[in-house]
Amino acid sequence: MAASPKGDFFDSSRAAVQDRELQRKLESASTRHLDHFAIVKAEFPLYEAEKDAAHRIKTDAIAHLDELLIQLTDKLHANGCKVFFAENAEQARKYIVDLAKAKGATRVVKGKSMTTEEIELNPAFKAAGIDPVETDLGEYIVQLRGEGPSHIITPAIHLSKEDIGHLFTEQFGIEYTSEPEKLTAEARQRLRAIFLTADFGITGVNFAIAETGTLIVVENEGNGRLSSSMPDTFVAIMGIEKVIPRLADLSHFLEILARTATGQKLTTYTSFISGPRREGELDGPREMHVVILDNGRSAMLADPVLREALNCIRCGACLNVCPIYRRIGGHAYKSVYPGPIGSIVSPNLFGSAAGYLPFASTLCGACKDICPVKINIPRILLHLRWKETEGERPLKWPAALEGARAGARRFAGIARHPRTIRMLGRLAAQMLKPFAHNGYLRRMPSPFSNWTKYRNFPRPHPHKRRPASSEVREP
C-alpha cells in the first residue's frame, strides 16, 4: 500500500481523471470542509495570530528536535512508559508485532493513525496471525473493502453511502440500507463488542509535550479514547517531528488544527495521555509503549529547504484545496500520504518510487495559502523537482515521458532563436490546423504525439506574435 512501483501513478491518475463520480464526491466533501472553515475562521479573529504562533513554535521545535526528544523520552520514562526509537518501518513493525505476540494478543484495536499505514503494520500483524481492527469508522470501511484510506482526515471520502450500504450487506449479511445513521449504528455495535474485551490497542499521536511527557490524541469518534484506555497494553506511535516544547504551546495548535481540518472549533475529544493507569484505576493500560519513528524524517531534516515540511500537523487542508487532489483523489497518488504534502513527504519516506509526485502539481499555491503552519509547499515541490532531475539520484521516467522531455529540451534549444521560432510557429499553425478541435489539439502527429498523450495543446495561432526573448521581462 506504500509507494507502488513506478508507472502506476501515471496509470492510476489517468484512470481517476476520467472518473466523474469520484470527482463529484471529492468536490462535495472538500467544498463542505472549506465552507465550514471559512465560517469558523471569520468568527475567530485570532486565527492569523494563532497560525503565526504555531508556525514559530513548530519551527523552533524542529530546530531543537534532538534536545526535545531527549527531554520527552526522560519524562515518558518517569511517567512509567517504555520508549522505543525505530530507525525505519521494519524496526517499528517488528517491535510492535513482537510485543503483541509476547502479550498473547490475537486481536489489536487501532485508532486512526497514518503512521501505522506508513509502516504497513496491518499486513505484518496478519502475517503473525494477529487480527488488526481499524476502529475509526472511515478506516473500518476501507479496511472492509481491502483498501487504504484515500484522505488523511476522511479515509472513505471516495465512497458513496450506497457503496457502503452494499459493502455492509455483503460483509455482514444485513439488510441493505444506505442511511448513514443505520450504517453507523451497525458499526458501533460490532466494534463496541470488540473494544470491551480488547487487550492490545494502538493509536497515533498528534502532539507530544516534552515538558511533561504527555501525548495528545485528537479525534471525533471516541475510538481513540477506547483504543487507548480499554486494553491492558497500549502502543502509541509517533514520528520524531511530533514533539513540542511546553504545555503552554499546545493551545496555539489546537485552536487552528480542527478549524482548518474540518471547520470545527475543537475536535470532539482531545486526550492527554501521560502514562499507564495507576493502582485501582479502571481506565488506561497496565503497560504503555511509545514508538518514536524516524523512517526518513532525519534525512528531511538535513535538507534546509525540505525541513520545513516537518512542521506539518496533518490537518489535510492542502488536500481539500488542491486542484490535482480534487481531480484524482487520494488513491491515485499510490502513496499513504496523498495530496500536496504527500507529494513532499512520500519521496522522502518511500524512496524514488514516489519521486514523480512532486511533479503532480500545478504550483498554484492554494496549499501554501491555507496551510495553518505556513509551509511553503510550492517552494519545496520545486526544490524536490530540482533534486529529482538534477540531483544525486535523477528519476527514470517512463519511456513516453522521456520522449516528451527530450522534445522539451530540443524546443528549449530552438526557442533561443527568435526568428527560427517565429517561422516554425507559423509553419506549425498551418500544419496542425487539421488536428484541432475547439482550439485545442488532442492528438498531434509524431514526433509530437508524446506531448498530447498527457495534455491537450492549444492550437498555435498563425497571427499571434510571440515576443522575442529579448522582449520578455522577468515576472
Binding site: 531527549i70 448513514p180 474485551t197 469518534e221 479514547r225 481506565d283
Partner: protein, 238 residues
Amino acid sequence: MAEAHKILATIKTALEAGERQQYLDLANNHAPVVPPTRRVPIAGPEHRAELATSLARELELVGGKFAGIVSPAELSNRIVTLAREIGAKVIAIGEGASLDMDAIGEALERADIKVVKAVPVADSERLTMREQIANADLGIAEAEYGIASTGTLAVISTETRPGSLTLLPTASLIIVQIDRVVHDLAAMLAAHGPARLIEHRLTLITGPSRTADIEKRIVLGVHGPKALHVIVVWPRDE
C-alpha cells in the same frame, strides 16, 4: 536504547548539516513566542453570566444539550428530572471533584433508578465494572473545567472517577461549577498546569461522539455517547 542514541545522533548531525544556526535565527528572528492577547483572563465573577451563555451556545452548536443553570440545592432534583426525561433506568456515577455525588446517587435511587457506582478496582474486577458502566443509560461526571469559547468540558480520570463514565454509557451528563468555567483553551491549560497533567489522564470533550465519515453526514454516537447533557451549578448567593 542503541537505536535511540543512533537516531538522536543522526538528528543532531542533520540539524548541524542544515545550518542549525541559520534556522534558529529564522525561528528567533520573529518576535519571541508570545501567546496572542487573551480576551478575558481567568474569569472573575463579573464575567460569569457571559461565560455561561457562551458555554451553552457553543455546546448546542456541536450537538450537545444544555440542561440549565441550577443552585447546588436544586442539583439532585434537576438530575432526577433529566433522567426521567431521557428514560434512563440505569445510571453510572463516580465521585465528584467538588460535588457530593452520593447525595445525587441517593436521590436517583429514591426515584427508582438503578445506580452503578464506580469504585477503585483490582485488575481482576475491571471487566465486570466496565460492563456495568457500559450498560448504563447515562453516565454522570463532574468536569474540572468548562471552556466557554468552544463549549468544551475538561474531565480527568481517577480511580473513583474513571473516564469510562463519559465514554461508555449511551448518554453522558457532565456537571460543571460556574467558577470553573474559563474563557478559552489556553486559560484552561494554564489553570490545570503541567503537574496535574502528568498525574491523571485529561480529556477535553466538545459535544457527543460524532462521525462524518459517510458522505460527510454528521451522525452522533458512533463510538461514545449519543447525547451529551451539561448542567452548570451556580450558587444562589452570587
